[in-house]
Amino acid sequence: MPKYRSRSGKFVVSGVSSDAHTWNLVFLQLMLEERGHEVVNLGACPTDAEVLGACLRERPDVLVVSTVNGHGHMDGARLVRALRAHPGLAELRAVIGGKLGVDGGTGRHVDALVEAGYDAVFASEDGLEEFADFLRELRPRRRAPAEPVA
């Protein structure tokens, strides 16, 4: 446990549309809750629309996408492009991590995912530690005003 804790925030944790793995999501929820954050866990296989809908509804500080089935470089990129294309979500801090390709060599996917719109990509062996560092350094960010409820 870190000695000091950053401001607590609200997180949406999610897999991607074709990934059924959930142990990564269960773990991330516990990890974030232990640091005092509030977590909305979308579980496995949410459609892009479901993720966007949850982000608009919950107004999280961060969207955390975790995926390990090897399709992450495709599904994750498509998801974040949809996110950035939405006026209410273009500024939302979004990160992704896991096993992002089928061949285990995920390094080459990192640039493409950043290019697609993620603020950070955690794909190395030390991805979890890097994510913990990211959480420690998390500071309040100017949030887009909530959309009027239709």
Binding site: T22, W23, F27, A44, P46, N69, V102, G104
Partner: protein, 445 residues
């Protein structure tokens, strides 16, 4: 090979039965590639392994969730997928992959993980697959967000498709895996039996019940015994005589966090092959040393199959020298039979009983995030590797259950403890790699 009452159960069942009668274990990989050519090469390599094998066509994730257009797009653009896009290839394309490879000595199964599986199963049926895998609970709860009610309806129709095919087809329940880790063995056994009863209710005549290796060899051995006993009591004799269904037990090599070292991974695979033989399973679905790192190559799969088959033969040869396990030590049968009875008494059909039991939390898969799972029950791995209920939630347990909450199982499960438990087997077997010897021969305990 075909005894009384065995006609009409198909060549997958006949192949497994033939191996059993000759004292061999059927070994099978998980394997799927996007392109037809690579898929054929993979099947051919598995067929040519010097051991009784069954072939596998593992379907990709896009097809599993019904995104057929996305699978087709990937296929056309040459993007590698994590499996074979069976619907995109269609009946003719899939038939082309199986033609001349699938046979009585090498039946092929389609493994996928789809809740809304009608189109996929219909395509596999029409293309001549010998078997498939699934179940209303096991292909729904761990795999996404499709409502259980919808999955029950879909799998009713899938069973009817399987049952209606002129050339008999085999169906395996995935109920013995449920997230692969941290689901108590009694729940796995109960779900496997309940899904088998669901299959039978919808006309399936040839089926297999599964169990996934967990974290304690003694408990796993007892679980396989409980599964065979309960299946025998509820389904009748294994050979399908007198109108009973044909069935056998299939073991999955551990499906959770895998040892990173090759030695550790092979030791875990070895333990699963010995467990299969000792526990009376007739088929083993293997993992490879690549598991901790990436999707395995064909060569890695072939190596794992040959290794598992050799270990199984060795175990068969020394079976008589093994001590007899203490029956009922972990209470797996007692817990499972209570669960099955409590579920079945809730509704006149198995499908409705499953839906109501999950809604009531009577069936509850620990740590499963699916909206229709109560997710109140908690299980832990104790310091000896025994998988125990830490908090059964509303899951009914016999009063003196062998795996009930005990002092060492209590306390909250935080992220650190969760990682420790998920990594139990990886640590145990990787430590053997470092030490150059076995820490403990749990299978002999």
């Amino acid at each position: 090979m075909s005894g009384p009452g065995t006609a009409g159960t198909g060549r997958f069942a006949a192949h497994v039965r033939g191996a059993r009668e000759s004292g061999a274990l059927v070994v099978q990989p998980r394997m799927g590639f996007a392109g037809a050519g690579r898929m054929r090469e993979g099947l051919r390599a598995v067929r040519d392994v010097a051991a009784p094998t069954a072939g596998t066509v593992t379907v990709d994730s896009y097809t599993r969730v019904g995104e057929y257009a996305r699978a087709l797009e990937a296929l056309r653009s040459g993007t590698e997928l994590n499996g074979f896009p069976l619907v995109a290839h269609g009946v003719d394309g899939t038939r082309g992959v199986l033609d001349g490879l699938a046979s009585a000595d090498f039946p092929v199964q389609v493994r996928h993980g789809a809740a809304r599986a009608e189109r996929l199963v219909a395509t596999a049926c029409a293309a001549g697959a010998d078997a498939t895998e699934g179940g209303p609970v096991s292909y729904c709860l761990p795999y996404g967000r499709v409502p259980l009610r919808e999955s029950v309806r879909a799998w009713s129709r899938c069973c009817e498709l399987v049952a209606a095919r002129a050339e008999p087809m085999h169906l395996e329940t995935f109920g013995g895996a449920m997230l692969g880790q941290l689901c108590p063995p009694s729940m796995l056994v109960a779900l496997s039996v309940l899904e088998a009863l669901f299959f039978r209710e919808h006309g399936v005549r040839s089926l297999s019940l599964s169990y996934a290796q967990q974290t304690h060899p003694g408990q796993d051995l007892e679980a396989l015994g409980a599964l065979r006993r309960l299946a025998g009591e509820r389904l009748g004799g294994m050979d399908g005589a007198d109108g009973a269904v044909d069935w056998h037990v299939v073991l999955y090599t551990f499906m959770g966090v895998f040892p990173r070292s090759a030695a550790g991974a092979f030791r875990l695979l070895e333990e699963s092959a010995r467990l299969a033989v000792r526990g009376g399973a007739d088929r083993l679905v293997v993992k490879t040393p690549a598991e901790a790192h990436r999707i395995p190559t064909v060569e890695e799969n072939v190596g794992a199959l040959e290794f598992a088959s050799a270990v199984a033969a060795d175990e068969r040869a020394r079976a008589r020298t093994r001590p007899v396990p203490v029956p009922g030590r972990y209470g797996v049968y007692e817990e499972a039979v209570l669960l099955v009875d409590r579920v079945l008494e809730r509704a006149p059909t198995v499908g409705a009983a499953l839906e109501r039991s999950f809604a009531a939390g009577l069936l509850d898969v620990p740590y499963c995030l699916h909206p229709d799972n109560a997710n109140r029950a908690r299980a832990v791995v104790d310091p000896w590797g025994v998988l125990r209920w830490a908090d059964p939630g509303r899951v009914p347990l016999p009063r003196r259950a062998g795996s009930g909450p005990e002092p060492e199982a209590r306390g909250p499960v935080g992220s650190r403890r969760l990682l420790d438990m998920l990594g139990f087997n990886a640590r145990r077997f990787d430590a053997e790699d470092v030490l150059g010897r076995r820490l403990a021969d749990g299978a002999a305990a």
